[in-house]
Symmetry: C3
Subunit: 208 residues, 3 copies
Amino acid sequence: MYEQFNFIIEFLGMISFVMSGSFAAMQRRLDPFGVLIIAFVTAVGGGTVRDLLIDVPPFWLNDLWYLYMILAVTLLSMIFKSVETDFKVTLFVFDSFGLGLYTIVGIQKGLNAHLDPIICITLGTITGCFGGILRDILLNRIPLVFRKEIYATACIVGGSMFLFLKEYTSFPYVPIHLFTIFLIVAIRILAVKYEWEIPKFYLPKNER
Amino acid sequence: MYEQFNFIIEFLGMISFVMSGSFAAMQRRLDPFGVLIIAFVTAVGGGTVRDLLIDVPPFWLNDLWYLYMILAVTLLSMIFKSVETDFKVTLFVFDSFGLGLYTIVGIQKGLNAHLDPIICITLGTITGCFGGILRDILLNRIPLVFRKEIYATACIVGGSMFLFLKEYTSFPYVPIHLFTIFLIVAIRILAVKYEWEIPKFYLPKNER
Amino acid sequence: MYEQFNFIIEFLGMISFVMSGSFAAMQRRLDPFGVLIIAFVTAVGGGTVRDLLIDVPPFWLNDLWYLYMILAVTLLSMIFKSVETDFKVTLFVFDSFGLGLYTIVGIQKGLNAHLDPIICITLGTITGCFGGILRDILLNRIPLVFRKEIYATACIVGGSMFLFLKEYTSFPYVPIHLFTIFLIVAIRILAVKYEWEIPKFYLPKNER
């Protein structure tokens, strides 16, 4: 049963990142195959790096479902786009959901491989952030993760909360997952909405 | 016998990408070692990612031939350059041949690993495109693959044709390879020459 | 005993790259978590690619020491920064030391895996250069390695010297390591100080 729940979360994360990737690519006016490739890289980038690091086969290599789903969702997003117009908000919302979902997926896969909690948070952050970083590098955008707003911070805070709840409380499996995913998405969205920033104590006072 | 034929194709692809990498690097006035590194990354980038994904040792790691050949061809391209001048055309032609040859090599390696056809096309596209993407990112150029002209599309079309011919016809091994390589190179060159573009149906009519 | 010596060298290399990564990130005014991520990528990037290529687990995955050390040194560099100001020199010096230390670590790991010397030099160059390349790509800087001054050349020259001394002389283990590390750092620093350049024989005479 947990298997299926994990699969659903990974799946929703993948769809979110396909959407964010294809919208970013359409914004740059790539042709449909270019859009497909950016969507693919955004959706599988983080998980692939994670799987290479822990030496398991990349998750999309032996299960055709993923590729078909990426194809279908990319096509849908193209059709949807010819109606809709506000790129920026759509991209941002899907990117936030992908971030939350993939971070928790990454941590869970680290735990399954019996790795230390702090390594698991690292893997979760890689899984959550890396697809978006690749997308932004390929499209020659300044990576979202390195702009002013809170981004990776959301992964690290949400991931730590996830591990704390798992280790020190007896809440059941599913609510812990849902709550921490929600937490990451909420931090990210609120951070952008209210322009939260972490104080940069290393800058001279007048430059902060 | 097929072994040797595959080796020759991989070899020609490698030489093409070494040429395209070293010409791109010389255009940016890198010093000879910088040129060598860009040539190396362009030539082995796509195949290395493919080999990491299907979990076989990177093809250049246990066979010195590849490294010596990269060294020799890079040196030759530097000497050739001091005579010749038109960077752009040379780079483009070699990049196109590398693309065609490496795509088919990648698909064939996927088939050898008993992967599903659609995964094989993905691997072929990665093998064909990734070296050039790395080259362009490292040199701070807008990746060829993401400019207006048909690029990845050529890989996907040629790769599908390759699998179709293999599966549903009884043409012999070598002609199928040669024909589809030629097809990819031809699509790419004609697309640039005649400025073919795939319609972007998701853009508002006046922006296409 | 050699084990411990190798560990110390890797460790010092890691600290150097953490410093160079966090200083580069602070220069770009990233928030503390952004600084941490850049420091992490710079410190583990080269070694991780090397470990993936020779198919051993990434060195930081099963030994928490590395992550704790990266955390601690990043924090220290932030505190240190709020006192000190000259980014450029600090970044450059630490990057040079990291380059020398990591190159030799990479070659040694290649030798341990019984790979051919020329492949070992390639792995050493990848280990030394790749973290810095990733740092510069993520921060949208022109990679140090591709500017005019001697960079990868230092790795290749120092690495060749290392293998020559190992193979053809009977100097003991530790001095060979220390001398070649010193050699790489010295070449790099002198090259920048005196603006050494390798002649680009492939450029027309008036453009060299």
